[in-house]
């Protein structure tokens, strides 16, 4: 049961990285687009789907909260600051996007909306990177009583408890890596939504630029992770890890091919495969540990909710997904219709 719930967790997280990631990346990509037409086009593409894309995050939270409550509270306690940062960025981003779209006479504010939207689109994935770094790090045992952690008492060290695990070169690199990855995913998705050869060439340039930065930052993350003993590179020889690496390589290869042949969906599936490979590598490196707290790490097994809860959670998730997925397909299909097409 716990494994099945974990599978749903992974699915929801993957969906969030692909759809929500493309969405955040859209904000970063927007900052690099050279002319207003493309920016407007990007805004138009994101508008109908961004809210639905973000519900995957709520799915992740709810599954953690119901299925692995100690992990949910553990993460939110240990990683209080980066989670708060991500939340504020999500709030600012959603609000600015909507206000920019609906403000009938924005005047000077339109610039403010745009800057805030783009900045928060970059801050949120950066904060996610800090959170991932925090998940890969060891956390010291917390004193259990509130009084023991009050400033000034023995054994209290705010930095050690609440900052050190998600801060440092490794964590910052993780943040930059995820921001670059999201921008890369967004650029690939956006390619299929522009139609002139000129614009497509502009987007391809950005795909390669973001891909290169993702690649370099990814390498830096692995290296610093190895040096700080957060990512054991030796584990990379595990069969699952090797298959993830192969999947990533295959995704890269097919992406380049698809760009050459201008195959929109092949590009999207390739980038999806790459995201899956990255997440797969992360999860298998961490399995079955969810949060490395001293003295005993929280795992899929020791942190799972009672069987009856997991049973109903899984039943609920199956029902919900069988309802949501067809509707999401309808939503995306309705809005895939390009500008030139007559309305159905």
């Amino acid at each position: 049961m716990a494994t099945l719930t974990a599978l749903f967790l992974v699915t929801a997280l993957t969906a969030y990285v692909v759809f929500g990631g493309a969405d955040f990346g859209g904000g970063i990509l927007e900052a690099t687009l050279p002319h207003a037409g493309l920016k407007a086009r990007l805004q138009k593409v994101i508008a109908p789907v961004w809210e639905a894309n973000h519900v995957w995050l709520i799915a992740v939270v709810v599954i953690l909260f119901v299925g692995f409550p100690r992990v949910y509270t553990g993460v939110l306690t240990r990683l209080y600051l980066p989670v708060s940062l991500a939340l504020m960025a999500i709030l600012v981003r959603g609000a600015c996007f909507t206000l920019r779209k609906y403000d009938p006479s924005p005047g000077g504010l339109s610039h403010v909306y745009s800057v805030a939207f783009r900045a928060s689109s970059a801050v949120a994935p950066f904060a996610f990177g800090l959170i991932v770094a925090g998940l890969l790090s060891e956390h010291p045992a917390l004193p259990t009583k509130l009084d023991d952690t009050s400033p000034g008492s023995a054994g209290y060290d705010y930095y050690d408890f609440y900052v050190a695990p998600w801060w440092g070169v490794f964590a910052v690199l993780c943040g930059l890596f995820i921001a670059a990855l999201f921008a890369y995913v967004a650029a690939v998705f956006f390619y299929g939504e522009v139609h002139t050869a000129q614009d497509r060439a502009l987007i391809v340039k950005r795909i390669y630029a973001f891909l290169a930065s993702t690649f370099v930052l990814g390498g830096a993350v692995l290296l610093t992770g190895h040096l700080t003993q957060r990512v054991p590179l030796a584990a990379g020889l595990h069969p699952i890890q090797i298959s993830c690496q192969l999947l990533a390589a295959a995704g890269l290869f097919s992406l380049v091919r698809a760009i050459r042949r201008k195959r929109v969906w092949a590009m999207r599936f390739s980038v999806g495969a790459q995201v899956l490979a990255i997440l797969g590598g992360w999860f298998s490196a961490q399995y079955p540990i969810l949060l490395k707290v001293a003295p005993e790490p929280l795992t899929l097994h020791n942190a799972a909710a009672p069987a009856v809860t997991l049973l109903w959670l899984n039943v609920g998730l199956v029902t919900v997904l069988s309802l949501v997925i067809p509707l999401l397909v309808v939503l995306y299909r309705v809005f895939r219709a390009s500008d030139g097409n007559p309305p159905e």
Partner: protein, 443 residues
């Protein structure tokens, strides 16, 4: 202030902020659907404009509600890990279902807003209705979780751990049906009076062109029946809620009524100021026997007072009592206006278009929301010092992470800016839609 007080303030602020946007996104879609249906049947351009105008308002409010709701799903854990770690496996069911309902709501909303020329009229209309249906469902489900905090069920509590968990029993706890009905009615009431107030305000404008005038009148014809029906039901639901609380959470009722001393034939305080030190109400008017009658349906019944509870188990009385009085006062006012509207509809139709009635409605714009916020203050503050009634204390649930005052200030600043910006843009949409309807009427 202690870390606990800061954390509670952060939570109150976030919930108080979110509830406004959540309520509107439950109710406004139904107004929208009514206008849309009228347009589809008659082809009235006024109703088409009205549908667009409301849809734009709903889009802005819905987005703010969506992001603040996402933030809340984290904040519960950021602020109250000592509660959430136990609550998840027990009351997670309605949370998961609420998430699902919200997911569907977001999808249907996307389809409605952007589907004007991409969906068949029937599918498009249906998606608009579904936004409201899913919104209502998510509201009902999330109230189940709050009701469980007032009326814990579905587990056995021993040595600080829950066992024998029954998720469905927890979800179908005894407080749920009434609390959900009370809240939904409040959402309808608050949203419809707020919307009616804005349109009445529009009508008061000197030199109003025929286009916008017709737009506002059409809006009022749709909204006011919602406002009236909900406002007339609400006192009944409120009375039933108070009766249920009298049995289930007597200290909450006692705090609401500032009823310190257990007594038979207890009187009801109207107005006045609670002196928590002296345990009395100053300058209040007391209606004899009324509390016993309202709480138990019998003027001589015994009403349990705060004296039956140790001091550390009592909720704050002043805030609870004040918030309760504000809620009841505003609820009575809205019910009174509703009666006037019904009377005018039957006997004095000229009143319905009179400037004084429009002035009255526009004055009442915030009344429903103030009552709704006051009601949530009653239920939340009145449950203190417990986060899970008689099981977990709020002070044992709060996070270990220091620096809660900074979190509060950051959230406060962010929400203040968002609030101002959102309503600024709504005002601009209002003006722009008026201008468009002027143009349309000239064509």
């Amino acid at each position: 202030m202690t870390e606990l007080s800061w954390a509670r303030s952060s939570m109150a602020l976030s919930l108080g902020f979110h509830i406004i946007f959540a309520s509107v996104s439950m109710v406004l879609p139904f107004f929208m659907a009514c206008a849309h249906r009228h347009y589809l049947k008659t082809g009235s351009t006024t109703h088409l404009r009205l549908t667009h105008a409301w849809a734009k308002g709903a889009a802005v409010l819905f987005a703010t509600g969506a992001v603040s709701g996402t933030a809340l799903s984290f904040q519960l854990g950021l602020l109250w890990p000592g509660f959430m770690v136990h609550a998840g496996p027990i009351i997670g069911m309605p949370f998961s279902l609420e998430g699902a309902a919200f997911f569907l709501e977001a999808i249907f909303f996307g389809l409605f807003i952007y589907g004007w020329d991409r969906l068949s009229p029937r599918a498009h209309f249906a998606s608009g209705v579904m936004v409201g249906v899913c919104g209502l469902a998510s509201g009902i489900l999330v109230v189940a979780a709050n009701a469980w905090m007032n009326s814990p069920a579905g587990f056995v509590w021993e040595n600080g751990q829950a066992s024998e968990i029954q998720p469905w029993v927890a979800m179908f706890n005894r407080a749920w049906p009434l609390q959900a009905a009370h809240m939904l009615t409040a959402a309808v009431q608050a949203t419809s009076f707020a919307a009616a107030g804005l349109h009445a305000f529009g009508l008061l404008h000197k030199g109003l062109k025929p286009g916008p005038a017709e737009l506002h009148r059409a809006a009022l014809r749709i909204i006011l029946p919602f406002a009236v029906v909900s406002s007339l039901c609400q006192p009944i639901l409120g009375d039933l809620s108070a009766k249920a609380i009298a049995v289930r959470q007597p200290e909450k009722l006692a705090a609401m009524e500032a009823h310190y001393h257990t007594a038979s034939g207890a009187g009801l305080y109207v107005g006045g100021w609670v002196d928590e030190q002296a345990e009395t109400v100053r300058l209040g008017v007391q209606i004899p026997y009324a509390l016993s009658f309202l709480a138990h349906g019998d003027p001589s019944a015994e009403v349990i007072g705060l004296d039956r509870f140790a001091r550390q188990d009592r909720p704050p009385v002043l805030i609870t009592h004040l918030a309760f009085q504000v809620m009841v006062l505003l609820g009575t006012l809205l019910a009174g206006v509703s009666v006037v509207w019904l009377f005018a509809r039957k006997f004095k139709r000229a009143w319905l278009d009179a400037r004084w009635f429009m002035r009255l409605l526009s004055l009442l714009t915030p009344a429903g929301f103030l009552a709704l916020e006051a009601g949530w203050i009653v239920t939340e503050v009145g449950r203190q010092p417990w986060i899970l009634y008689h099981v977990i204390r709020t002070k044992d649930a709060v996070t270990n992470v220091p620096g809660q005052s900074i979190t509060f200030l950051a959230i406060g600043l962010l929400y203040a800016v968002l609030f101002v910006m959102t309503f600024l843009v709504l005002a601009r949409i209002f003006a722009a839609e008026q201008a468009k309807s002027t143009l349309e009427a000239q064509l």
